[in-house]
């Protein structure tokens, strides 16, 4: 919790870390869209190889990446079980039945695809956040969405709120710890009693926390005003984001892979036979 401000960022010096964060964000979106075009196990297998290759290049330990899947394990299981139990396929596909439970072959295939889809879907943003700091991401988002400010969407304001939140969270977490200790020292008990009692016991922590958050916000506003802040007006940035050759290369790789997935999906130029060969290979 203390390290929310760095998120799950894993510092390493890899090509992927050094890519322009705006580009990484765009590529991540492309990747997510691409996942929805995949329909065959061949496609999923290729994508898995692709994303694992990215992890390898990024020098983030595989274990770290897999750990992020822990959070979705229930979602995956839930989806799989529901699909298997309630999918109704052709009678000739029926594999096994008992009482009202009928399990079809297509259900298993569907469930497998669904699970793969969710897992691969999550791996994309995981690689992004492991190789990009939240600050870089916020910054990239602000710059990417800048055109929206012409239609009066407060992009800059949203971005600055986000970056201040990232900045203040560790401070507030620390403060919460302190207040909890202080109230415990006055005999407060946060651990026993029912849910309602426990929620009530948190008041002596929440109230001082709110009061001090408002005070901090006030002081921060004064400090920002003092440092000539007046919103996006006339504001420049120190860090210039410039796309370089490696960014174009990365884009080409992603685009090419996306194209392959489309080829497989729609069988353009009748390349379906290649997919079959690959599938047989597996």
């Amino acid at each position: 919790m203390k390290d929310v401000s760095i998120g799950q960022y894993y510092p390493a010096n890899s090509v992927i870390h050094r890519l322009d964060p705006r580009l990484k964000l765009v590529l991540c979106i492309m990747y997510i869209v691409m996942i929805f075009f995949i329909q065959t196990f061949t496609g999923y297998a290729l994508t898995a190889v692709f994303i694992l290759a990215l992890v390898f290049i990024s020098r983030v330990p595989l274990l770290k990446v897999l750990r992020s899947l822990k959070a979705i394990i229930f979602l995956v299981l839930f989806t799989v079980i529901l699909t298997v139990l309630f999918f109704r396929g052709n009678p000739e596909d029926l594999l096994w039945s008992a009482w009202i439970i009928r399990i079809y072959k297509a259900a298993l295939i569907n469930a497998g695809k669904m699970a793969l889809r969710i897992i691969l879907l999550v791996l994309g943003p995981t690689v992004l956040t492991l190789t990009t700091t939240p600050v870089e991401l916020t910054d990239a988002l602000e710059r990417l969405l800048k055109p929206l400010s012409y239609i009066k969407i407060p992009v800059h304001e949203l971005a600055i709120i986000m970056s201040i939140a990232l900045r203040l969270i560790p401070t507030l977490v620390e403060e919460t710890d302190k207040i909890i200790s202080a109230q415990k020292a006055r005999g407060a008990d946060f651990e026993s009693g029912n849910l309602f009692k426990r929620a009530k016991a948190m008041l002596p922590v929440l109230i001082p926390l709110f009061v001090s958050s408002f005070r901090r916000a006030d002081e921060l506003a004064y400090a920002m005003d003092s440092r000539c802040y007046r919103g996006a007006k006339g504001r420049t940035r120190m860090k210039i984001m410039r796309l370089t050759f490696k960014d174009f290369a990365a884009f080409l790789v992603m685009a090419a892979f996306f194209f392959c997935i489309l080829l497989l999906r729609y069988n353009w130029f009748n390349i379906g036979f290649i997919a079959e060969i690959i599938a047989r290979g597996f």
Partner: protein
Amino acid sequence: MSLIEFEHVNYSYNAGTESETLAVKDFSLTIEEGEFIALVGHNGSGKSTVAKLVNGLILPSNGTVKVDGMRTDDKDKLFDIRKTVGVVFQNPDNQMIATIIEDDIAFGPENIGLPPKEISERVDWALECVGMSGHRKGTPFRLSGGQKQRIAIAGVLAIKPRVIVLDESTAMLDPVGRDEVMKVVKRLRDEEKMTVIMITHFMEETLDADRIVVMNDGCIVLQGGKEIFERETELETIGLDVPPIKRIANKLRAKGVNVADGVLDAETLAGELCR
């Protein structure tokens, strides 16, 4: 024309409600370019209100505040006023807006719309001014209080204001941190020729000032050079101390030891006593 002019300024908090309190009363003060002013008073004497009035964070209820001839209640001038006067506040944690030190220091120069290269140069310069050059890419979280406050000072310096106001910027620091900050302040005055307004309740920190302004209950009660430390009882009744060396000198004199008036620092007093 003086650089900063307060003319008969009143300011009340919660104006128009029953808890209205007059924090600053008929406050008049002029500050010249290059001066080092120490503004002292106990907590609640109104000194921090003055800090917020200087660069138009709050506007006087009556009277005027002018910075380099610009009135703080002139909305069009506010931006230029804030480029001229930078304020460093008490709690360094509540002044930083970015998670990375260089981004934080760049915030001011970015706001005034400088080109990227110049911003980067100013970040380097400001960090060097406060002696924190090695920390450019670091985060402020693991720094000591004194270091954090130096980063906050650098954030203000990067705008290159002519005046720097330190609003009790040493109050939350340990003695080591206070020394660090005071060293930086002296350097800004001596080398960068900046105008400094040091707001504090530590009398030791006023010793280097050209002029000491003592506030009580929203008003200026004493003003002048180091001779004001002769008014020990007066200072004590409004909750302030004279520097300890001065106090010893006074006590010695009361016991019949021959000590000259106006001795404030240990070196001089020791010299007198060990002749």
